[in-house]
Symmetry: C2
Subunit: 331 residues, 2 copies
Amino acid sequence: MADVGAAAGVTSRTVSNVLSGNKPVAPATRDAVMAAVRELGYQMNVTARGLRTGRTGLLTVAVPALRIDYFAELALALVDEAERLGWAVTLQQTQSDRERELAILGGHDRLLSDGLIFQPHALGPADGDLLVSDQPVVLLADHPLHADVDQLVLDNVAIGRAATAHLLGRGRRRVAMVGPNHDPGLSTAGSYRQQGYAEALAEAGLPLRPELVVGAARWTWDGGAQAAQELLASGVEFDGLFCGNDSLALGALHVLQRHGVDVPVDVAVIGVDDTRDAAHSTPALSTVAIDTAGVASRAVGLLVAQIERDDAYAGPTTEVVGHRVVRRSSS
Amino acid sequence: MADVGAAAGVTSRTVSNVLSGNKPVAPATRDAVMAAVRELGYQMNVTARGLRTGRTGLLTVAVPALRIDYFAELALALVDEAERLGWAVTLQQTQSDRERELAILGGHDRLLSDGLIFQPHALGPADGDLLVSDQPVVLLADHPLHADVDQLVLDNVAIGRAATAHLLGRGRRRVAMVGPNHDPGLSTAGSYRQQGYAEALAEAGLPLRPELVVGAARWTWDGGAQAAQELLASGVEFDGLFCGNDSLALGALHVLQRHGVDVPVDVAVIGVDDTRDAAHSTPALSTVAIDTAGVASRAVGLLVAQIERDDAYAGPTTEVVGHRVVRRSSS
DNA sequence: CTGAAAGCGCTTACAG
DNA sequence: CTGAAAGCGCTTACAG
């Protein structure tokens, strides 16, 4: 930068002012500096700028795994929203590994960035106590964590209840569920959604039949296909199927149809998330839509407000993320 | 860091050595330092470390748009591969905007990172001359750029030829194509794949019928659905359909089926990319698979070799990315 | 509007 | 194995 200044007949301060635009510079000086920049092929050292200003222009987004459609769509929505506000996003996957998630909470394993949006997967509510971070944080979670930070939380019990109630409302009386994950290490949305499922059945005065509930270790298309196989193989009768997410539902849908089950006549199916694929299946998949774009916009908004010490930022809040049933042809 | 040293009875140099692991430190000293770190809740300033070492641990991946399945899968494969080697990835979208792509080539609009993997979309071969970068770069492209850097290039003509030849090999004689994009600003893969299509027809001694070629401005599911509508509405007969990518093919497949067209009996369909959705449609979609994982691994490998000045790195190369026809039920 | 200088928080030769 | 000090390349009060 000093070299550029020398070539333009000014000091590095003026070069800095021209390049950053922080302070006004006389047009002639400005042109001379830009000419020198071009001639010397000067490119600013962004790391040095970052050290000085305390800003990197980067946000970190940490999710369990990008191979899971929901997290991929969430991450990409966050990238879009951040970009709109002039920030770039660095992606980090935890693979639902508890140690890794604790390291992120604890502020170790820190990437170069000004703030963190973190979706834990293997942490319980009490683990929030371990949040020690001197950097701005927004948590996205399946349940509130015991931590004094911004949190956007899904109401998974309500989601499970809404999905199940929808199928009951379509006249189904033997509604099966695919999804609960009893891995003790993972506090997934599965058990909360299962609770909602049970509540909806109870509200309708219907019995909870354990044989209608099939677990799925991984919430993927293959997991859903396998669960549907199991359900069909068991010979148990069912006329409705609530799947923990859309990936499971699409896999299940495929298997049901291959076995000659008419969806929705024989079995009505509903998923959760409203991923892009849901609208494209045949029949198109009913689902409980989670407002991913809304989550992304709110999460980035809160994080940037923290980073920029926005006056309008009133301190940590815990907000519940909205959801709504989207009825399509599968139910 | 000096404070931590004071609390542990050493200087910042020793704290640095303990934290970085660069130099051996006596166990007792080491423990004292770690204790002080914990007690003071010290978290290293990664930006300062970056300025000093000249490394950020970050790679930038710039693609046209993450809403396009192929680029999303490519970007996520790059994230996976980078993570495997201990690097994190910052994502940047160009929206196929020529100015933005030129800014990236020119080294302006630079993010904090040690290297760049860049898939241009609006640049012609000659634009490569504008590549002025003092940072390591790997280009992923639809055609070689005139630049002395590492490039991984698709052979799009061969891909179009292979897809079309596959349909011809299945006995089809009136093969339609969806995809060419005649937007002069975009040097997409479309025109190359169309050239391959034409070559395959010529090799089989079949005429090129312009009425069988339908453009698609956006290579999305909706774009494919719309193109199929047009094709059906035009009343032209066809028994094979080559789509520029899988998203187009899945949209077209949906519309064909909704209009009672039996795939593959009436019309055999093939796409390109082998995105995850291709295997999940009914019927499962035939496609020309691009070795995305291979591209990701090679791209990250080349970039890291440049960054680390690996002795095994022999200077810029241009390599052709592999592809192969995957036959499924749609053809 | 511009110069000369301090300092952001690390790492690393230079000594011991 | 550790201390004292320089320096990475910027930005920004302090002066003028």
